[in-house]
Symmetry: C2
Subunit: 134 residues, 2 copies
């Protein structure tokens, strides 16, 4: 186990940039043909999935790392997102990345959306001006 | 990258046994102080989280592997669980394992429970005899 997996640098750079709200640096790690999937979003734009980032960061109090495993053309991060006391959600999250030529071409974000469905239901139907997580 | 990560054999053995319903072989990979967490279950019994296994396997039509990354004392599997057409749920799933002395001491299963909440709501409240996923 001597070689540094080539996925490590772009994935760490992307993830750290995203959680400090640095969309430009995160987007610079995204390659052609990119696809993002989560319980709420499917997007093939390089930054479409980052559109609600400020809102998310406004309610996240801590990103608690659980695991980071890197392969040659993929990686999986596991972490717990802690949110403000008013929400009280601790979101166990897994994020799988695929890469090509050192750039991220696929992100699949896995988490339980049920707590958010409850929050969004309480916030009211979309389109009535209520602010909610993107 | 020459060494075989020591997590690979027990995690593969556990996972393959579970998806063929072989609880004894799966349980043999579980070590002392085991903890299991998922959106529906928290259990510290070696097999408590496998109690509903037959019911689950009855509705799963395919386990589609997405990723398997192994470290020395941990591993993360990502896969899609396809279910019978009557349910029509494709469950993106991430499963993080921690190990000690070659045995699994922690499993965190991450998936979106929202589609199941809808199925269970339709099945009726618990205790009225309706069968649902465990």
């Amino acid at each position: 186990m001597t070689a540094e997996p080539s996925s490590r640098h772009p994935v760490r750079t992307y993830s750290e940039a995203r959680f400090r709200g640095d969309v430009a640096t995160a987007a610079a790690q995204i390659g052609e043909g990119f696809v993002f999937r989560s319980p709420f979003i499917t997007s093939d734009s390089p930054t479409g999935h980052l559109d609600g980032l400020d809102g998310l960061l406004g309610i996240v109090t801590e990103v608690e790392p659980v695991s980071a495993l890197y392969g040659e053309a993929e990686a999986t991060l596991v972490y717990n997102l802690h949110t403000v006391p008013a929400l009280g959600i601790t979101q166990r999250t897994a994020e799988h990345f695929r890469l090509r030529d050192g750039l991220i071409t696929e992100i699949t974000l896995v988490f339980d959306s049920a707590p958010w469905q409850a929050v969004m239901a309480a916030a009211g139907p979309p389109g009535d001006g209520a602010a909610g997580p993107a």
